[in-house]
Subunit: 695 residues, 2 copies
């Protein structure tokens, strides 16, 4: 076992496969990994790792101490704490059960003992995190005589596995494996190290942190014009306007060609939207229809099976990636498109049809279908990012599949599933594995449901309303059929007012969120993360999967769409209710009944919270007028990231660090340092939050 | 490719694995396979089968013509027609999605083109039944310009795969494979051949076809006494009385020892139940607790991981099987136990805990965990059947996992799932793959729900009420809490009356069902089967998954528990509504609103249907008094199976064929031939069913 970079250790066994996440990585390790402290000693003993060849592949044993709690494995929608569970690392479009299947499964876990483990494989490997003891281990301890019980559980006396045991990893097909171990010393540090090792977290363009609206799929130019104007006229902030499948001549598989029937003057439409300060985003997927201009060129570099009668381009082959990227540059990015929604790049199992390519497919790069399924999301992201890099601009895009080492990619995950509880858990869990996730709003059963879902999505990495089934704006009518028929809800003005308040609130959070993402980029700190990352010594946080930290200082506890009240656990310390300013003691569980439009937010004591005057949209000229809320007598400095907000110049230090300071006697102060020449932040007010302690 | 037995062809590739369903089979091929006609030519050309080694295992290609419909893959609860789907052959305790996962997945499919294919592997193989075309195949045909549509499906223009294509089989780990191909010429003949190749269908003891009642898990001797007496006093026919986990000192894992606290005089209790003419059935599972008398003996012959702190005995090792079987002979079978319920021998994925052994487990026989999971159900059945063979008696038992070549085993499958629509589909589908399934009745949301579920279960291989959560009889109170508290429903007498009518109706069907099972044993004909098996030329049957044939002449169309009406498709020919005697033309779909207590049954024209005077229970002395219903002027002969009903003597021809004949002029006649010396059937009446044609 040796150190590959400061604090990251590699255990090698046998002859590894040609294609693994590490071997296929296309982003350098962040230099900032050197800033993280290291004990200069691997957190797991080499002797405690065992690898053996089996008839089926490899068996890996890693130690698991009695009290360890295991997190990670990528975007897991059904569970947060994976201790004692089985997790199958397989990309899947409808992860309806707690099997490990996911849009973005990652063979990476972290332990509250303060380390992380990446098993470097693209195989559908399975982790058993302490599910079983070895033969005979229970013999000594299990001879207690069973007592007569009344409940079934008591009656049957289910035996749980406890004590020191193993994490087993079952890796099919492989003959060799590299295991990367990330030092802590604590859980959050291990995650930060993993993210910096991956290349650092992604920094979105400022506009990406605004509101997103995806329009009706069957819309034509006129419908688009009407929607875009109506949003501006009603002063609902929106930065990104998205097109769903209907923009193409052929969607399943995809032609990547604008449909002239629905959009006879599409370029003029894009230009108009751009003048209205919308960023235009296009839905697509990866399977190339025979009528696509890309078809013939990609054919030699595609897998041996079709999907929806289209090619599966092998983006692990440079020539295929080039063709795909160049087509997107020429046809879309150079024509004003700001980003894409990369759909269907996972794989189906649980849905009406079994689409996608078989696991036994063969690709020219040498990847087989199994490996390609676990990597295609990242290959696709890497390809689509390229044209933006070529024009020196950031994108902020969507993708439905991802994997290991994904933190540098400017893509946010989403799903066709729609359970709101699972959607919240997605925000909590994605932070363990270098991923971002949006609990997007699509349908709503009532105006209340719409609002609750919006409350959650504006406190996520991407504030997205995906109204692909609604020809009219959702607050006018949530009922699908009535919306299609143009029958509007009587109370829509009230609904719209609350939505507008929430949209504006999101816009006011942009500087704070941008700072959180800057910390993701610089330090690897997940902008959205589970409480256990910040409070690893508090066992009460070990299973909290419906609350999360957003940025440095805000604790978020969204209501699930049909709730009117919920419980909130506040960890150690003191917290301010953002809406009432009430000061609350930590280490307690509250029952709260928040008002509609006031998603539960708790501010850590001694926080400086910058809130911007909401704008309708962000431009390269936008200056944010800040009110800085001061919570507590010892409010700590807060660092804002300042740059042009859209180019890649920040990678060459063309940015400023703007530090807000507070002193109870002398008041607030703004300190600016760096090479960026304009000023994006103007503090208009320091607002001391007075409160009485709730005793 | 060569013929291994008449009409069964084997294609070999490479060096096969040491453990496969065929290599591990423990039942001889039925001699009756020679009675099936053969074209003396394999139904698939050898040249159309391709096998290639991949980095992951083997890739098999089999032909699939444009119009072929694919069925099978074992107990599939979510789909009947698997054409164009992906099916993963993996044993799983909670098959909540249509993935192929099942209690009893089988790597066997049949085509309506008239052949069957068994891929002889215990691996978690995946079948892709025409999901994808090969690269470039769509190029010529897919250049139709997409039209603007209004619905999403139209709009997106999803491409389906059509035309001649392949069945792909993805087999992990293997380096060689044998593929067995079963001639038709039609679908049913291919299934019959597969069943005879497996050893022929199982013949239940007569009592096994009666009513089953599984009692409250937390019951003690007194409770058992009360329930058993109450059933007899209220004259509800019941043949089998089942004990749930509470009978053991330790259930998870299992001690296989009676709990002296709850059952201080368990032997006297068993003897009493036996005197009351109940057959006693015991719940158990395979994982052996350290306190079990079997533990030390089995320890050397167990897998390397524990489950619920218990051993996983390797029943593929003769010594382990012997110990397990002998313990059951000595402790249970010799003491009057008639059968077992073999629980938890599948594997968990979707439930609250991830129990069972890892796929990477190793067993002394050389099986790995993956292979063992797909075979453990059959090994367990084979082991538990042995003590009954030793005493020369049949059992009729339950099991929660099974696999390939299972038709000779006297076990019926069940599940912890409870969707009634899926449960009905289970009855339909299991017949394609040599399996039996019971849609057992556990909970009910209302008396109506209870009755609808009973209506379905009495028309299945096992008429089972599994009241493990109810201390009182279910018709007294369906509400769990109230049942526990002894608060009985006001209308319970009416509910009980309908239940009693249905229980009695089941009892009246025993001779008919016994004949159907005899045909399963002799000819391989599934006693419960999809309509498409009997009507393979009628495309309307291709997807009918909520109706089935029961025995030769009855079409069953159960109501789903919350339905009050449904559609029924009647195939070609004429049919009699069993309850009204109305004659109905086939080739039509009816909408029916059946009365509670009258499950929809349609009798094929020209059928002789023997119905017995219901008995409370079957004994070795039972003589069935038959009323023979005569449907149609040309009623065909019907053959009853007559034997002692409980021993294995039928295997040595100690049985009679009792043929009912009907002639419109001379009336009915009973013809008896064979070596069994007693008479079990007495015709008391020939009842001509008069009707007017519904025009």
């Amino acid at each position: 076992m040796h150190q590959v970079v400061k604090g990251v250790w590699r255990y090698c066994h046998g002859e590894t496969e040609l294609h693994t996440p590490i071997k296929m990585r296309n982003k350098p390790i962040s230099e900032n990994i050197e800033n993280l402290a290291s004990a200069n000693q691997a957190p797991i003993n080499q002797a405690d790792i065992k690898v053996a060849q089996t008839s089926r592949g490899l068996k890996v044993e890693l130690p698991l101490q009695a009290d360890e709690q295991i997190y990670g494995f990528g975007l897991q929608l059904h569970r947060m704490n994976h201790t004692g569970r089985k997790k199958h690392i397989r990309v899947n479009s409808d992860p309806i059960a707690d099997t490990g299947d996911s849009h973005a499964p990652v063979p990476f876990y972290v332990s509250n003992a303060g380390y992380g483990v990446l098993v470097d494989t693209l195989r559908y490997c399975t982790f058993y995190t302490g599910t079983n003891l070895k033969k005979g281990e229970s013999e000594g301890r299990a001879n207690e005589v069973h007592k007569v019980g009344t409940s079934e559980i008591e009656l049957y006396g289910y035996e749980k596995t406890e004590g020191d045991r193993q994490v087993l990893v079952d890796i099919p097909a492989a003959k060799g494996i590299d295991i990367y171990i990330f030092e802590g010393p604590d859980l959050l540090s291990a995650v930060k190290r993993y993210n910096l090792f991956s290349g650092g977290g992604t920094l979105p363009p400022l506009w990406g942190l605004g509101m997103w609206y995806r329009a009706y799929s069957a819309a034509n130019s006129k419908d688009i014009k009407r929607l875009a104007e109506e949003l501006r006229q009603s002063e609902m902030p929106v930065d990104v306007f998205g097109f769903e499948p209907g923009w193409q001549t052929k969607a399943y598989s995809a032609s990547f060609v604008w449909d002239n029937n629905r959009y006879p003057n599409y370029q003029s439409m894009i230009d108009t939207l751009t003048k209205q300060h919308y960023k235009v985003n296009l839905w697509e997927h990866i399977f190339v229809h025979p009528t696509s201009p890309m078809y013939q060129g990609l054919k030699p570099f595609s897998g041996d099976f079709e999907v929806w009668q289209g090619l599966v381009p092998d983006l692990a082959v440079e020539e295929a990636k080039n063709q795909f990227a160049n087509y997107h540059l020429k046809t879309f990015v150079n024509k004003g498109i700001s980003g894409f929604k990369l759909d269907e790049c996972d794989s189906s199992d649980f849905v009406h049809s079994n689409w996608s390519f078989p696991d036994l497919s063969y690709f020219p790069s040498g990847l087989d279908g199994e490996q390609m399924h676990n990597q295609i999301g990242l290959l696709y992201q890497d390809t689509i990012e390229r044209p933006f890099e070529q024009i020196g601009k950031r994108t902020w895009s969507q993708v439905r599949a991802s994997g290991a080492l994904a933190s540098p990619y400017p893509f946010v995950l989403y799903s066709d599933l729609y359970n709101h509880r699972d959607f919240i858990r997605g925000v909590v869990n994605s932070g363990f594995s270098g991923l971002l996730w949006t609990p997007e709003v699509r349908d709503a059963s009532s105006p209340e449901d719409l609002i609750r879902r919006i409350e959650a999505v504006i406190l996520s990495p991407m504030a997205l309303l995906n109204c692909w089934r609604l020809p009219n704006l959702p607050w006018l009518q949530v009922d699908l059929e009535k919306n299609v028929n143009g029958e509007f809800d009587k109370g829509y003005e009230e609904t719209r007012a609350i939505c507008k308040h929430l949209f504006k609130f999101r816009m006011s959070l942009i500087p704070y969120l941008y700072a959180a993402f800057s910390s993701y980029y610089e330090e690897g700190t997940p902008p959205f993360r589970a409480l256990v990352m910040d409070y690893p010594d508090d066992p009460q946080t070990f299973t909290v999967d419906d609350q999360y930290m957003m940025g440095a200082n805000l604790l978020i506890a969204p209501l699930i769409s049909d709730q009117t009240k919920r419980e909130v656990y506040l960890p150690t310390g003191s917290w301010y209710d953002f809406w009432t300013n009430e000061l609350l003691e930590g280490n307690q569980t509250l029952t709260i009944k928040p008002k509609l439009g006031q998603p539960p937010i708790y501010v850590k004591e001694n926080t400086l919270l910058p809130l911007a005057k909401p704008v309708q949209y962000v431009t390269d000229q936008t200056v944010f007028e800040l009110v800085v809320n001061v919570y507590g007598a010892q409010a700590q400095p807060f660092s804002l990231h300042e740059d042009d907000g859209e180019s890649l110049a920040y990678k060459n230090k063309q940015s400023n660090q703007v530090i807000l300071h507070w002193n109870a006697n002398s008041g607030g102060q703004l300190e600016r340092a760096g090479q960026f020449e304009s000023e994006r932040y103007l503090v208009t007010k320091w607002r001391v939050v007075h409160t009485e302690k709730n005793t």
